[in-house]
Amino acid sequence: MSAENPGPRAQSPAKIAAGGVKKARLDGEKVITANRLTDGVVIYRAEGGAWTEDLSAAQVLEGEEAIGALAAAQADESTGVGPYLMDVETEEGIHPSGRGRIREEIREAGPTIHPQFGRQAERGAA
């Protein structure tokens, strides 16, 4: 380890809670996600602070901008419960990535054992 290559810990000092259980690093592209207060539905934060059920309409953020937007989302408790930053990649749309990929794909689509429930069902019907 050298000054030019300070190691992963120094490169990404900020650890952010994801989903209350997992830890993620403040690297790369992020989307803020939460569950909707009234019914628990998975939602994503769009530009301007509105919430959307559509991941493709979410605002993609990085670095301090992501942290700032997360703080704003946490301060506003009227719609989103437990907001956190999820990793995404943005080639051909916005898709979950990183260690939480499977979890976020299931949150986004619905339980893999019940294709008739969740957004996957709506897409199937469409």
């Binding site: 989903g19 209350g20 259980v21 569950n35 207060l37 009234t38 019914d39 628990g40 539905v41 998975v42 408790e77 009227s78 419960v81 437990g82 990183g98 260690r99 939480g100 990929r101 499977i102 979890r103 299931i106 949150r107 619905g110 339980p111 893999t112 054992i113 019940h114 429930f117 969740g118």
Partner: protein, 553 residues
């Protein structure tokens, strides 16, 4: 079964009204999420991956047919048409909207049910033998004592904020169907040499990330002293249990850190202090109150029947398999206990649809004195069925998709909700269970393999009881990929044991092959069909199974 008195009704109704107000204040912003979260959890309401999840208490796994219909109506009106039987004999609904939960709780309250103490660091739903009151050899119905404990522990102010959650199970026979050795407190009703009824008390069992088998702290406790003794145990735990580390806060850690002897001594000392106070300081139950509660668990009005030769040569192979696996001996001649499997191939273990609940309620009315049970193995039970009614019952169950003849077989898998629903899970559990079921789809092959308990957890919290599976499967996250660790030789019966980890984790597409290798190894090494998997494992040890699992991988 127990029926609410005016006090029960008043406190449950008051809780519903209180929660209705709390939800309203959360929605208007008067309560913050941090303030609201513990309040909703105290009413069994979690927030999971896709939605809220409401855990409804089924005290000691006993339901009336009418209560089951109410659960069906909730599934239909407020959820997505199904409920899920949990490993604490409760029923979980996976999709309720927060705004509807007060109405759901009201509907439960009207049917003498609730979701109180199904979450939080308190004494949770007391579980019991699903064959209670029906199995031969019981000292008395264990549910009497479950109900006594339920009344004592509900809203007990001293034990509302324990270091961690607290789980008690009660059984009354030598054949343990309630997994009492892996509970915070396990209670076995028994008689002493003088023939007097009392309890064996075990403390410090549990699963999770640090599994332990419970220690016997009292081999015989006189029956009328149960509550003061439980109070002493809980008090020692409350005072000395760790609160600095979530993962070391369960009583099992305290018992093992203090040592069995020191812990027992502390409990006995505390108990003596309580008893010194005399009747005014003791919470022990007056005999009249015990008798009042026992009155709710009187035997149903059994007919005087003779046993029949109902197992003799049935024409239908499916019915024959069902008789062999799902029908157990009843204490009364002419009756039988029926396990209703919630493990049809391809469905989530423990799921039951609203229509199935209604159908089962009707069958309970018709064939089982309106009595239905849930089991910690995620099945249901009709406890008092006339042997002569078995063919008609089987036909009716089969018609509604509840006729799976697999109780205790390789496809009767316990699986936690896993990453398909759960906020804590690392990996999925249910799809693994479904793939194993598919591989062993042939009922003849399943019968040949015989009793084999596979239990799957999607994370180290072990809600799928993998530690006590004959074959246990634990999901672990490896850099975002699902891997599964296999344990062998666990069991939750009277010879309870924690399974042994046999080697490195397996990729998700290797798990079913691994289970098949284990089964094939067992079949090739068993002394005969009468030697079950777990017996063969006990005789042979892990080595031949390890070799089979990792020989070429």
């Amino acid at each position: 079964m127990y029926q609410y008195d005016d006090i029960d009704k008043a406190i449950v109704q008051a809780r519903v009204d209180e929660f209705r107000g709390q939800v309203a204040r959360r929605l208007t912003g008067e309560l913050t999420e941090d303030q609201f979260k513990p309040l909703r959890l105290q009413n069994g309401l979690y927030l999971q991956l896709h939605a809220y999840m409401l855990r409804v208490a089924i005290p000691y796994g006993t339901l009336s047919a009418d209560q089951l219909r109410v659960l069906a109506s909730i599934a239909r009106d407020y959820d997505k048409g199904y409920g899920h039987v949990s490993t604490r004999q409760n029923m979980q609904f996976n999709w309720p909207a927060l705004v509807n939960v007060p109405d759901i709780l009201q509907r439960l309250c009207d049917a003498e049910m609730h979701a109180i103490q199904t979450s939080g660091n308190c004494i949770r739903n007391v579980t019991s033998d699903p064959f209670a009151g029906a199995a031969a050899g019981e000292v008395e119905d264990p549910r009497i004592w479950c109900e006594v404990i339920r009344q004592w522990s509900t809203f007990h102010p001293e034990f509302a904020f324990l270091p961690r959650k607290f789980k008690i199970a009660v059984t009354a026979s030598d054949e343990d169907r309630a997994a009492i050795q892996v509970h915070d407190i396990g209670i076995q009703l028994r008689t002493n040499d003088a023939g007097e009824p009392g309890f064996r008390i075990l403390v410090g069992g549990g699963l999770g990330r640090t599994p332990y088998i419970g220690h016997v702290v009292r081999d015989f406790l006189p029956r009328d002293q149960l509550l003061s003794y439980l109070e002493a145990i809980l008090r020692v735990y409350n005072v000395h249990g760790r609160r600095d580390n979530l993962f070391k806060a369960r009583i099992k850690i305290l018992v093992n850190e203090m040592g069995e002897e020191a812990f027992t001594h502390a409990v006995e000392q505390e108990w003596e202090e309580i008893r010194k106070l005399g009747p005014s300081g003791s919470v022990d139950l007056p005999e009249a109150e015990r008798a009042r509660i026992a009155g709710f668990f009187r035997e149903p009005d059994f007919a005087a029947l003779d046993d029949t030769d109902f197992r003799a040569d049935p024409d239908d192979a499916g019915y024959a398999r069902w008789l062999s696996r799902n029908v157990s001996a009843h204490k009364r001649p002419g009756y039988a206990i029926v396990t209703v499997s919630l493990k049809p191939e391809g469905e989530a273990p423990g799921d039951i649809t609203a229509d199935q609940m209604d159908a089962l309620a009707d069958l309970a009315d018709r064939y089982s004195f309106s009595d239905v049970r849930t089991t910690h193995e995620q099945n249901m039970v009709l406890p008092h069925v006339r042997q002569a009614d078995l063919p008609a019952l089987y036909a009716a169950l089969s018609e509604t998709g509840l006729g799976s003849a697999n109780a205790g077989l390789v496809s009767d898998i316990i699986a936690c909700p896993g990453l398909d629903y759960c906020n804590l899970a690392n990996t999925r559990s249910i799809p693994v269970a479904n793939r194993i079921q598919k591989r062993f789809s042939d009922p003849v092959r399943q019968a040949e393999v015989g009793e084999l308990k596979i239990k799957i957890s999607g994370c180290i919290n072990a809600c799928g009881h993998h530690h006590v599976g004959h074959i246990g499967i634990l999901g672990v996250d490896k850099k975002g990929e699902e891997f599964y660790q296999v344990t062998l030789g666990g069991r939750a019966d009277a010879e309870a044991a924690i399974g042994e980890i046999v080697g490195r984790g397996l990729a998700t597409d290797q798990v079913v092959d691994a289970v098949e290798k284990l089964v094939d190894t067992y079949l090739s090494l068993r002394t005969g069909p009468e030697e079950r998997f777990i017996d063969a494992y006990k005789r042979l040890g892990a080595e031949p199974f390890k070799e089979a699992l990792y020989e070429t991988a």
